[in-house]
């Protein structure tokens, strides 16, 4: 060794591996406006498709006359359900076991539903033609309120299901009923309530909102009639699933379908499902033999593609006088809109909502979910959360606050008392999950100490006194949320999408000169996979992240995977990457042993190569080994250095966190200001702390938006109110609070690198913190529960109802 030999630390730093705050490599193109999105794609002869949409929420479609549109120069064709019937595509299966109209087949079930698809030479002509398609409607009674869906005289929304008493998830008890999903022990739970010292019961609604990615849903379909090959570029969070579904629906063999997801401008669950736009573009390309592009506008995206939430949860907790919880009972009324197009693993009609016991040791619990139809857009996707987990976290965190209030206990103390204890992990919850790891008390205590929780309560008390004396019109709320997420879907034993098991995959190829190309079954929509996946590989095989190219989204080159949503990429594909890398390292060890003329058992791994135990100067770097792997492998060994791994996770992962929100509310206007927001996340092993922080900032901002005003509203006629960014609250930098982030690290014991996933925790965890802060602020005036969203006028209304306006 000489002075120029890099130290171990220097070699480690050069890798930019796990734990490194590596800058996002994809940002080089994004910050220069050089991303490559679907709408950037321009193919020779490309046509444009656009929809005629229904102005009514519920109506019969009695006539569609496209003759005037077809007379317009540049209009190629107008597709209706009748045309799609010819190829058996007027309806399509949903991910939730229902069927959905691609184009209105005799009726429409929600405003802006797709009625006809106009195909034209350019977008302007297509839009002109839309105005010329004459559709006759016969209005039907509109059903907007899910609480009225199962009234005896409620209008029949789905005549196609008439007489069907059995749905995809069991018996249907009403013509607008989709499913009942029950988990837990009803009898035992009833007993807990009978024996309880204290019980609470509250209807906690989580309003309808929308993931609203900045890039809307879009695709380009191109059918090559000569080769019989179909290529579809699209905003797909799960490109392989789209390929399989497209093959099953179209009967084009799967190897002749190429699905490509280029750069995606945010997904948040909105881009998991299949939409009429995709089907119609594909059919249009097959019919015309030309590429067809379809691009949603903002209003179409907000009003028709998958919404999130619309869960109405009645929560009951049984407890002892000392605050120990003894039972949990939850009933959910789930509004799915006109079709059940909820994107959940197929066997889970209410997603993983049975995580609703949260971070607390409930000895018994019972949950029932009823899904119903209404005249609203279909969906029910996980908007930056694992399937229905944010609903569950909101439900239990709000209910725990209500219980604390009834007991006269501090809500932080109540949580501490009931947390699952570190020694209870792996913990089996009353509703059937096995929590992998956690240390809730440490995280909670760290959060309380950092934010100065007890002092804040003192300050709040003083402010309440001052308010009562008339010295101030401002009140203060402290919102606590201690959430447990369940992510990483999922184990094939209970998770599949339309029969496709929810594994994921990675392929790594080390080139002779020691650089790498790797491909995964996941698809980044902003998560930074090109950066973080390379970091895992860098640490595992000792090749600098800068020398590792990560590629996703092309089904021809990437191994089959289930895509990116539900914080599943790190728990599932992240594990596949580590395991593929380890296969490479194992082979490298044999090659190094051959090169050093020692037994492989005499070698040990050291940062970026193998060294002889006890004689570290005898070593071979991965770069040297890579060259040898191709050009001088040990006798009898296949040349090359690459590996593929498919990972079927043994369990989900359970990230958790302690969030605190300190809020000041102007009682006279209802305007709230977030004074502090502290988010402690435990996502297990941290791959890139800077990306985690960015993810947390983004998720907190979405949670803030949802809790404080982001809403898809309908009037009583089923008109979508405010489906534009004028009304749909998307906070700018001005409205967004300052975020304080923190962490603890409790690795997942069953994951190869101990990582749990983090992307969605901040959305799941923050919504209850904001809502609890608002509710907490009004607690001293007698408030128990104020429904979200907490926009200014509703907060003002709550203040008024509580007599705060004098």
């Amino acid at each position: 060794m000489n002075d120029m030999t890099p130290t171990r630390e220097q070699r480690e730093a050069a890798l930019e591996g796990m734990g490194c705050k590596r800058k996002r490599v994809e940002d080089v193109r994004f910050t220069q406006g050089k991303g490559n999105y679907v709408d950037d794609l321009k193919l020779p002869g490309m046509l444009f498709g656009d929809f005629v949409r229904s102005p009514y929420a519920h109506a019969k479609v009695t006539k569609i006359d496209a003759s005037k549109a077809l007379e317009l120069p540049g209009v190629i064709a107008v597709l209706t359900a009748e045309d799609l019937k010819g190829v058996n595509l007027a309806w399509m299966p949903t991910l939730a076991g229902d069927v959905q109209m691609v184009l209105a087949d005799g009726k429409v079930l929600y405003q802006n539903q797709e009625v006809a698809f106009v195909i034209a030479e350019d977008r302007y002509i297509a839009d002109d033609a839309i105005q010329l398609v004459e559709v006759e409607y016969e209005e039907l009674p509109v059903l907007v309120d899910p609480f009225k869906s199962m009234d005896p005289d409620a209008p029949v929304l789905r005549p196609d299901l008439e007489g069907k008493t059995e749905g995809a998830h069991g018996p249907r008890k009403h013509h607008n009923h989709i499913f009942t999903w029950e988990v837990g022990d009803a009898e035992e739970t009833d007993r807990a309530f009978k024996d309880a010292d204290v019980t609470i019961k509250e209807l906690i609604s989580y309003h309808r909102t929308h993931p609203s990615p900045l890039e809307t849903c879009q695709c380009v379909a191109s059918m090559d009639k000569v080769t019989g090959e179909l290529t579809v570029w699209g905003t797909f969070q799960a490109p392989h699933v789209i390929r399989t579904v497209a093959s099953l629906l179209s009967t084009i063999p799967e190897h002749k379908i190429h699905v490509i997801a280029p750069d995606i401008g945010g997904g948040f669950g909105n881009k998991v499902g299949a939409y009429p736009g995709y089907i119609c573009s594909i059919v249009a390309s097959i019919v015309t033999g030309r590429p067809v592009k379809w691009v949603e506008d903002r209003m179409e995206n907000l009003s028709t593609t998958s919404f999130a939430r619309d869960y109405h949860m009645t929560a009951e907790i049984a407890a002892k006088n000392d605050g120990t919880v003894t039972g949990l009972k939850v009933h959910v009324l789930a509004d799915h809109g006109g079709f059940d197009a909820c994107a959940d693993p197929s066997k889970w009609p209410a997603g993983f909502f049975n995580i609703v016991t949260g971070s607390y040791d409930f000895p018994t619990a019972h949950l029932a979910v009823d899904g119903v139809y209404t005249n609203k857009a279909p969906g029910g996707v996980a908007y930056r959360c694992s399937f229905r987990v944010t609903e569950a976290a909101y439900c239990i965190e709000r209910a725990m606050d209500i219980l604390a209030q009834k007991l006269g206990m501090d809500p932080a103390d109540l949580r501490m008392k009931n947390f699952v204890k570190p020694e209870q992990f792996p913990y089996h919850s009353a509703l059937g999950w096995e929590y992998d790891s956690g240390d809730y008390h440490t995280a909670m205590q760290k959060a309380m100490d950092t934010i100065g929780y007890r002092q804040l309560r003192e300050e709040q008390k003083a402010k309440q006194e001052a308010f009562k004396r008339g010295e101030t019109r401002e009140i203060m709320g402290i919102g606590i949320s201690f959430f447990t997420e369940i992510v990483g879907a999922g184990p094939s034993k209970n998770c599949d999408i339309l029969g496709v098991a929810m594994f994921d995959s990675a392929e790594i190829r080390v080139h002779p000169t020691g650089s790498v190309i790797s491909r995964m079954g996941t698809k980044s929509q902003g998560q930074g996979h090109e950066t973080t996946w390379a970091q895992i590989i860098a640490t595992e095989i000792g090749i600098p992240a800068a020398d590792i190219m990560v590629e996703e989204g092309n089904t021809d080159t990437a191994p089959y995977g289930l895509g990116t949503y539900g914080s599943r990429s790190t728990p599932v594909a992240g594990a596949a990457i580590a395991l593929a890398a380890r296969k490479i390292r194992n082979k490298a060890q044999m090659i190094a042993a051959h090169m050093l003329e020692v037994s492989e058992y005499d070698l040990e791994w050291d940062v970026d190569g193998f060294q002889v135990k006890g004689n570290p100067e005898l070593r071979k770097s991965m770069k040297e080994i890579a060259w040898a792997a191709y050009n001088a492998p040990p006798p009898g060994m296949e040349p090359g250095l690459e590996a593929v791994s498919y990972y079927d996770p043994p369990n989900m992962t359970y990230p958790f966190g302690a969030y605190f929100c300190v809020m000041d509310i102007d009682v006279d206007t209802g305007v709230s200001k977030i004074r502090r927001f502290y988010a402690l996340d435990d996502c297990g092993t941290r791959i890139n702390p800077m990306i985690i922080e960015g993810q947390v900032h983004g998720g907190l901002t979405e949670g803030f938006a949802i809790a404080m005003g982001q809403e898809i509203r309908y009037d009583e006629m089923g008109n979508v109110m405010g489906a534009s960014f004028m009304d749909f609250f998307l906070p700018t930098a001005v409205e967004t609070p300052h975020w304080e982030t923190d962490y603890t690290v409790t690795p997942s014991p069953h994951h190869p690198i101990g990582a749990k996933g983090v992307g969605e925790s901040p959305n799941v965890g923050s919504v209850p913190a904001f809502s609890n802060a608002v509710n907490d602020a009004f607690g001293f005036l007698g408030n128990t529960h104020i429904q979200m969203p907490h926009d200014a006028w509703r907060v003002w209304q709550a203040a008024k109802d509580l007599g705060a306006h004098g």
Partner: protein
């Protein structure tokens, strides 16, 4: 979000612009900053066959003082209003209000003429112009006339402007030095129209109000000049009882829509709260 077909005109003089307007009548619309007309066209809620871009008309630009009044060319952008030293010294409420309109990118293009002439009750400048007792210079085929801001607005998007007329400038009498002023705007987020807003300009003398002007934004289908509130406040010391009566009088003239910003009752009450706060701030700023 795709507009229909239209012909684009780019005149270089007012006369030319008015001539194009006159020859096409209802089928033509002037284009100033474009923040209202272009979204409306993309939504196909407006489909003018002729769009007359005024950005090439040099005469419509600029801010100058003319015999006790400030004259602002219709195509002066909100950014230019904010940057103007003349306005900062003579009419600081214009800067304060402009800074509450949308965001910097929009203010680089949005103009005072477009803001006042469109008749959108959500715009901030109309109420402010009523508060300042401004008038609009209007040119049509029959020459020029001036319309007082307080007489200009008839209903949402309906104004005293004829289809073939163009607002060329706003004329604002300079308020006395030492006047107090405030524009209080409640909005849900940057870029939103007001839930309610109140403009106040007043002068104080010996602890009491010697003159007062109040107008409200977006709580009716036009901007609202609160004459009765002004009468109540003038001569008072802004004591609690007087302010309460003035606020009640201002609230009484509101007719807000119920929308995503809140139900009508809330928006009326917010007009009152904004007025109350604007009065307090204006009084604090007034000398004398």
């Amino acid at each position: 979000m795709i507009p229909g077909e239209f012909t684009y005109h780019r005149p270089s003089t007012v006369a030319e612009a008015v001539a194009i307007l006159a020859s096409h009548g209802d089928e033509a619309r002037p284009l100033a900053g474009g923040h209202s007309i272009i979204p409306m066209m993309k939504l196909r809620m407006a489909a003018p066959e002729h769009l007359i871009d005024l950005s090439g008309v040099a005469d419509l630009k600029g801010i100058r003082e003319e015999g006790g009044a400030i004259v602002i060319g219709a195509m002066t952008t909100q950014h230019e209003l904010i940057a103007s030293d003349l306005l900062a010294s003579k009419l600081p409420i214009i800067r304060e209000t402009s800074l509450l309109i949308a965001d910097p990118q929009i203010r680089y293009l949005g103009t005072i003429g477009g803001n006042v002439a469109n008749g959108d009750p959500g715009n901030d400048m109309p109420a402010l112009m009523q508060c300042l007792n401004a008038s609009y210079k209007v040119v049509g085929p029959n020459g020029e006339r001036e319309i007082a801001a307080r007489d200009f607005y008839e209903a949402a998007y309906f104004t005293a402007l004829a289809p073939e007329e163009l607002v060329t400038a706003v004329v604002i009498p300079v308020p006395p030095a030492g006047h107090g002023f405030a524009y209080e705007k409640l909005k849900r987020k940057v870029g939103d129209y007001a839930t309610a807003a109140a403009a106040v300009v007043l002068t104080m003398s010996g602890g009491s109000v010697s003159s007062c002007s109040v107008a409200l934004t977006n709580v009716g289908d036009t901007p609202l000049y609160a004459a009765e509130a002004c009468d109540i406040l003038t001569g008072s010391t802004l004591d609690a009882d007087t302010v309460n009566r003035a606020v009640a009088a201002a609230e009484a003239i509101t007719r807000p829509a119920s929308d995503g910003r809140g139900p009508a009752e809330y928006r009326t009450k917010m007009a009152g709260v904004m007025l109350r706060r604007a009065l307090a701030r204006a009084a604090e700023r007034a000398n004398g």
